[in-house]
């Protein structure tokens, strides 16, 4: 019954999306203007219906209703409740339903709160949003119905895969999806503005919170994904340039560029066309990423159930949405009037530079990700990895970060480097000292550049606060400072990891000792342990940092039976200045056990930095929303006063 209710709500929501599209489009014409008035209520109801549908799916997973195919395939009565619920979106059908639900709710929010834009632009935006949603509804209802029944019901679910029972994995997809869908709102705004040619600061201010919000979620998603791969894969690395990772990085790069260009548009009414294009590109990258991951045309170390048929469907959606949007862009962008001008040495100029660099990095990542496919078209099998991505990325990241340090100090419109030269002396000197010291240590080029840059940026990030009263600094400025500081912290972690990591690969007997960096590690004992559906061999290591007190690490090598699978559970010991990472391998014929150990100084800074970046975005978002609210209240007051005077 619940399943049928959920399905009915979904069909109804799809019908309302169609209505929203038609009414929105007709509402733009002179004769259909009256139809335009129903668009906002329809959008709100559509959002409520998608929420209802998703709630129905959650309820089915809550009850472990095994007469529903999706539940039977992905859940199990013995699963902990958290993972039962997470199972609702931990699969293709459920994740697509989550996607349309977030999209429906976003549409409702836009329809409810957004009053700043001309009504015609709003109609076009909501119609655009409905158009994009319709594609996903069709996908769900025609080819991946999450509410499909199983007759007869299964006696027990199939989804007890313990590998997927991980809190990181439970919340990772929704985080990324919120980010992707937020970008769909920016996309719809861009479509609306292109249709009505109303591009300006008001438009940018309307779009900015959505971009900020989705950027925060994308950042968190990438940070979580990276940490998950780090501790789960047991390879000691934190980024593998794997297609699945690139698929989440590309929208983030585009969103970062968009975030900065939309600020220029809001503050200075410049970069109109460019911002439009980025809004389209950012959402395109979300869809391209989803497509690449789901279609299976690129294979990856992260196991994903792939299905070429679904891939074709997403490709068709891509073609219609993105192809259509880019064609509209080609037709209309030329007629959007040019914005304000600025000198090259100015805040705008620095932001343009940052945008171009981000776009170049995006291009590099996209090309590297697609190259295996391209090579295959010519009959060669290749894979592309760090030897390509790392130096190519650095070519553009390094100048971008240098400008990131200086740009926020420049004035809008026009400025001269001479004016800010005194401010940047401290970070520059720091960079130089760090560079020289590291060069004497014999650190390789890329990590050296990274640490030196990070040292400079840590100071430079706070320079925009100089000469201001800290209590009067507005939240968005704090946001920028915190985010830029986070970039420096993260960069420091990455560079330290590649410069100073020490690795040991040894075969030990119980009682043997090995040294890794400053650590002394004893292999105390290896013993079998058993979990709910696995058995494992567990090593107990006793580790001393620099002769200090001993800590215990217990890496395991686990064997699962349903489905039959072996995994390595790495063990981590975190200190303020780094992490010790241990993986247990196999037992050799001579009775010794293989152990792989890393000492990774400051590696945790990578993720702390990432969290700071997201926090910066959050501060900016809160600041913008608060000031929008204040402005809205003031406007209402004026309107109210006028009303009273009129009476």
């Amino acid at each position: 019954m619940i399943a049928e209710l959920g399905l009915a709500a979904l069909w109804l929501a799809a019908a309302l999306a169609a209505l929203q599209l038609v009414a929105g489009a007709l509402g733009l014409t002179a004769r259909g203007a009256v139809l335009g008035t129903i668009v906002r209520p329809v959008a709100v109801v559509q959002g409520v219906l998608t929420l209802l549908s998703f709630a129905a799916l959650m309820a089915l997973f809550w009850q472990t209703d095994l007469s529903v195919k999706l539940v039977a395939a992905n859940s199990h009565s013995a699963k902990p409740m958290l993972y039962k619920l997470a199972g609702a979106w931990g699969n293709h059908e459920g994740s697509m339903l989550l996607w349309v639900t977030i999209m429906g709710l976003a549409g409702s929010t836009v329809a409810l709160v957004e009053r700043r834009l001309p009504e015609r632009t709003m109609l076009a935006t909501l119609a655009g949003q409905a158009f994009v949603s319709l594609g996903f509804y069709a996908f769900l209802l025609l080819s991946s119905n999450p509410f499909e029944r199983l007759n007869p019901a299964a006696p027990e679910g199939q989804g007890l895969n313990p590998l997927l029972q991980d809190p990181g994995l439970a919340f990772h997809p929704p985080t990324l999806y919120i980010g992707y869908v937020g970008l769909s709102v920016a996309f719809s705004f861009a479509i609306g503005a292109l249709i009505t040619r109303e591009v300006g600061p008001a438009f940018a201010r309307t779009m900015r919170p959505w971009v900020l919000g989705s950027w925060v979620f994308l950042t968190l998603g990438i940070v979580a994904g990276s940490y998950w791969a780090y501790y789960e894969l047991g390879w000691g690395g934190w980024w593998f340039w794997d297609p699945v990772e690139n698929a989440s990085l590309m929208p983030w790069l585009a969103a970062t560029a968009l975030l900065h260009s939309v600020s220029v548009l809001a503050a200075r009414n410049a970069l109109r066309t460019w911002t439009m294009m980025l809004a389209v590109v950012a959402f395109s990258m979300s869809m391209v990423g989803t497509f690449l991951v789901r279609s299976g045309i690129l294979t990856s170390v992260h196991a994903f159930a792939v299905d070429p048929e679904r891939g074709s469907f997403i490709l068709a959606l891509l073609l219609i949405n993105i192809g259509g949007a880019l064609a509209l862009f080609g037709l209309r962008a030329g007629t959007v009037t040019e914005g304000e001008r600025f000198a090259m040495t100015s805040r705008e100029g620095a932001l343009v530079f940052n945008n171009v660099m981000l776009s170049a990095i995006l291009g590099i990542v996209l090309l590297g990700t697609l190259y295996p496919l391209l090579a295959e078209a010519f009959g060669a099998q290749v894979s592309v990895g760090p030897p390509y991505f790392n130096p190519m990325g650095a070519v553009f990241v390094v100048p971008m970060l240098v400008v990131m340090g200086i740009g926020p100090l420049l004035r809008w419109r026009r400025d001269s480097l001479a004016r800010v030269r005194l401010s940047v002396i401290v970070p520059l000197v720091l960079m130089l000292i760090a560079g020289i010291v590291l060069a004497m240590q014999g650190v390789a080029v890329l990590p050296l550049l990274g640490i030196a840059l990070a040292a400079g940026l840590v100071v430079a990030a706070f320079l925009p606060l100089r000469g201001r009263k800290l209590r009067q600094v507005k939240l968005p400025l704090w946001g920028m400072v915190v985010a830029h500081f986070g970039v420096a912290v993260s960069l420091f972690g990455m560079a330290c990891d590649s410069a100073y990591t020490t690795e040991k690969l040894v075969a030990l007997r119980e009682g043997d000792t090995v040294a890794v960096g400053p650590w002394q590690i004893d292999l105390v004992v290896i013993e079998p342990v058993a979990g709910p559906n696995w058995t494992a061999l567990q090593a107990t290591l006793s580790a001393r940092y620099d002769g200090g007190s001993a800590v215990k690490l217990q890496p395991q090598s686990r064997s699962f039976w349903t489905p039959p699978q072996q995994t390595s559970e790495s063990a981590l010991e975190t200190r303020w200045n780094g992490q010790l990472y241990a993986v247990l391998g196999e037992r050799g014929e001579d009775g010794r056990w293989q152990l792989r150990l890393w000492w990774k100084p400051f590696v945790t800074m990578i993720w702390y930095g990432g969290i700071l970046i997201a926090l910066g975005g959050l501060l900016a978002l809160i600041g913008r929303v608060l000031s929008d609210l204040r402005r809205g209240i003031a406007r209402d007051k004026i309107a109210y006063r006028k009303l009273r005077q009129g009476r």
């Binding site: 600025f342 040495t345 060669a380």
Partner: protein
């Protein structure tokens, strides 16, 4: 450049700068990809047309029965990868993946050393959650490539 660019030129200049930067990035990427992409070899290819010594490539094939030897340090293994036509000795220092075993498919990432041994720094033997791995006997070239489609 503290002067404003002429009004009607600003957009053109910006577009041109962006285009030059992006095309530059594209060309640079194309050049780097030609040099850095790691090609896939099966033993027969590798014998007929060996890769340059410093070039990172992948070698895919079957681990020959009885060929796995562990060195005295306990963590270096040596084995032979074959495709039914040719055989390549491989040495690998590290933790072998769980599904690495004799008579099953493997993809090794690494470089071909001057002495003809393939020095691997990573071994892949992946499998999907819902299917048993594509382990095959008598792997032909086409089959090796197909196996790689999964492990790549």
């Amino acid at each position: 450049m503290s002067e404003f660019v002429k009004p009607k030129h600003q957009r053109l200049v910006l577009v041109l700068i962006a285009l030059i930067a992006l095309i530059g990035a594209g060309l640079l990427a194309a050049w780097a990809l030609r040099n850095q992409a790691s090609y896939f070899y099966v033993p027969a290819d590798m014998m007929a047309n060996p890769p340059e010594p410093d070039r990172a490539v992948r070698l895919g094939g079957m681990v020959e029965a009885g060929s796995i030897r562990t060195a005295a340090d306990g963590v270096t293994i040596q084995f032979v990868v074959g495709d039914g036509k040719e055989r390549v000795p491989v040495s690998f220092k590290g933790l072998a993946p769980d599904l690495f075993q004799e008579n099953s498919g493997v993809v090794a990432e690494g470089k071909l050393a001057a002495n003809g041994t393939f020095v691997a720094d990573n071994l892949l033997a992946k499998h999907d959650e819902k299917y048993v791995p594509r382990e095959m006997k008598d792997m032909t070239e086409a089959q090796a490539r197909a196996a790689v489609a999964e492990t790549q």
